[in-house]
C-alpha cells in the first residue's frame, strides 16, 4: 500500500511578465510519496483545471534529470534540498505529512518571469552564442586516435560538460551570478585540444556577454556548487578565471 501525504503549497502565481505576482495557497491531498515533485504539481493542476481555474505554469520536459528544463525554488532551495538532483528527480518521500512547501521561480534580473514558475533563460543561450562553441571545417572524420587526450583530462572535461544549463546556479547564487554555468561551458572546451585555438576569444567574449546581460558578480559564496544538480565544482570557476587572465593579459584578444 503506497503511503500518501497531505500538503499545503504556497505557489508563486504571476499572470505575465509585467503582472504583479503573489504567493497563493493550494491544498495537495493524498499525494503518493512515490510521485515526483513535478507529478505532484500535475495533480494540483488537474484539480485546478477541473475546477475551471488556471493551472500553474511550470517548465519541464524529459523528467529524467538530463534536459535542464525543469527547476523551481522549493523552500528556498533550487531543485529542492536533495543533493545532485533536478526537480523532476525529487520525490515526495522526502516530505512529511502536513508539510507546507513554498514554490518560487528562479529569481534573477537576467531571468525575467514569463508566467508563474516559468522564467526566460535565453540569457544562458546568449552566453553560449558569444563563444561557447568550436569552429571546425567539415570534411572526412579524423582518425579517432589522431588527437591523444589523457583519460583524466577527458574526465574533467566531461564533468564540466555535465552542465545541463538549468540555471540553478544563478538561482542559488546570492548575487545571481552565472559564473558556474559559464565556467562549465568554458572548461569543457578549454580542457580539450579542439577548444584551444579559440580559447582566448571564447573567454573574453563569453565573460563580456555575461556581464552585459545583467547577471551579478561571483563573490565565492560557493552556494552554486552545493545546489548544482550535476555537482559541477567551483574549480571550474578557478579555471575560467585563469582562462580569462590568459586571454585578457597575454593574448592579442581585445
Amino acid at each position: 500500500m503506497t503511503k500518501t501525504i497531505n500538503l499545503t503549497l504556497k505557489i508563486w502565481r504571476q499572470k505575465g511578465p509585467e503582472a504583479k505576482g503573489k504567493l497563493e495557497t493550494y491544498k495537495a491531498n493524498d499525494i503518493p510519496t512515490d510521485m515526483s515533485f513535478l507529478e505532484m504539481i500535475d495533480v494540483v493542476n488537474e484539480k485546478l483545471t477541473l475546477e475551471g481555474k488556471e493551472p500553474v505554469a511550470f517548465d519541464h520536459d524529459c523528467r529524467e534529470g538530463i534536459c535542464g528544463m525543469c527547476g523551481t525554488v522549493v523552500n528556498g532551495r533550487p531543485h529542492g534540498s536533495e543533493k545532485g538532483t533536478t526537480l523532476c528527480q525529487l520525490h515526495m518521500r522526502h516530505f512529511s505529512d502536513n508539510d507546507t512547501i513554498v514554490i518560487e521561480p528562479w529569481r534573477s534580473r537576467a531571468f525575467p518571469i514569463i508566467k508563474d514558475l516559468v522564467v526566460d533563460r535565453s540569457a544562458l543561450d546568449k552566453i553560449i552564442q558569444a563563444g561557447g562553441f568550436i569552429s571546425v571545417n567539415t570534411g572526412n572524420a579524423q582518425d579517432a586516435n589522431a588527437i591523444p587526450i589523457p583519460q583524466e583530462t577527458a574526465e574533467l572535461a566531461m564533468d564540466a560538460a555535465a552542465c545541463i544549463g538549468c540555471g540553478a546556479c544563478v538561482a542559488a547564487c546570492p548575487n545571481a551570478s552565472a559564473m558556474l554555468f559559464l565556467s562549465a561551458k568554458v572548461s569543457q572546451l578549454a580542457l580539450l585540444p579542439q577548444g584551444k585555438p579559440e580559447a582566448a576569444r571564447r573567454a573574453v567574449s563569453m565573460v563580456r556577454e555575461m556581464d552585459r546581460l545583467g547577471f551579478g558578480n561571483c563573490s565565492n559564496e560557493t552556494e552554486c556548487e552545493a545546489e548544482c544538480p550535476k555537482e559541477i565544482s567551483i574549480t571550474n570557476i578557478a579555471r575560467l578565471n585563469r582562462e580569462f587572465y590568459k586571454a585578457g593579459f597575454f593574448s592579442s584578444e581585445k
Binding site: 525554488v73 528556498g76 534540498s81 573574453v204 551579478g216 563573490s219 565565492n220 559564496e221 567551483i234 585578457g248
Partner: protein, 213 residues
Amino acid sequence: MNWLAGTLGSSIGKKLMMALTGLGFCGFLAGHLAGNLTIYWGKNAFNSYAEHLHSLGPLITLAELGLLFFALIHILTGTTLFYQNLKARPFRYSVNKNAGGRTIGSRTMPYTGFILLSFIVLHLINFHFVDKTGTTIYQIVHGAFANPGYVAIYVFAMIVAAIHISHGFWSVFQTLGANHVKYMPFIKGVSIVFSLIVALGFGFLPVYLAYMV
C-alpha cells in the same frame, strides 16, 4: 589601453582587483601585527620600533601612498560590486535558505568591509593624525585605551576584521585561479588560522594595555 580597462572592468577583473588589494592588506596586517607585538616587551621596545619605522622617511610615505591607493581600489570596486549584486536580483525570494556554501564571512563581506572602513578612519584619527609633539606613541596608545569605549570598539573591529579575512583570504586564491584539490583544504585552513591570529593578536592588545599594564 582599452584592453586593460575592458579586462579589469569585467566581473572577473573586478574580482581580481579585490583579490590583489586584499592580499596586499593581509601582508600589511602581518607586518603591522609583528610591529605591535613589541608592546609586550615594554614601552621602550614599542617606542623604539616606532622610531625605527619612522626613520625610514620617504619609504614610509611611499608605503602609505601605496596603501591609500590599494584602499581606494578595494573600497570603490567593492562598493560597485555590492550595488551591482543587489541589482542582479531585484525581486528577492520569500524563503531564503542556503545549501551550506555560505559562511558568516562570505555572507557579511560588504557589511564587515564598510565597518572596517569606518574603523580605519577612527584608527587613523586616534593614532596617525594626532599631535605627537612632546609625547611618545606609547603614551598616546596607552592614553587612548584608558577609555573602555575605545577598548570595546577596537576589540569589536578586530573580530569584524577576522570575519572579513576568513572569507577574503581563501577567496584570493580561488579568484587568482589557484584552486587545486591538493592545496585548497590547506589554504582554507590558513584562512581560518590567519583570521584567528588577527583577532587574537590585535584584539588582545587594547585589553592588555587597558587592564594589565
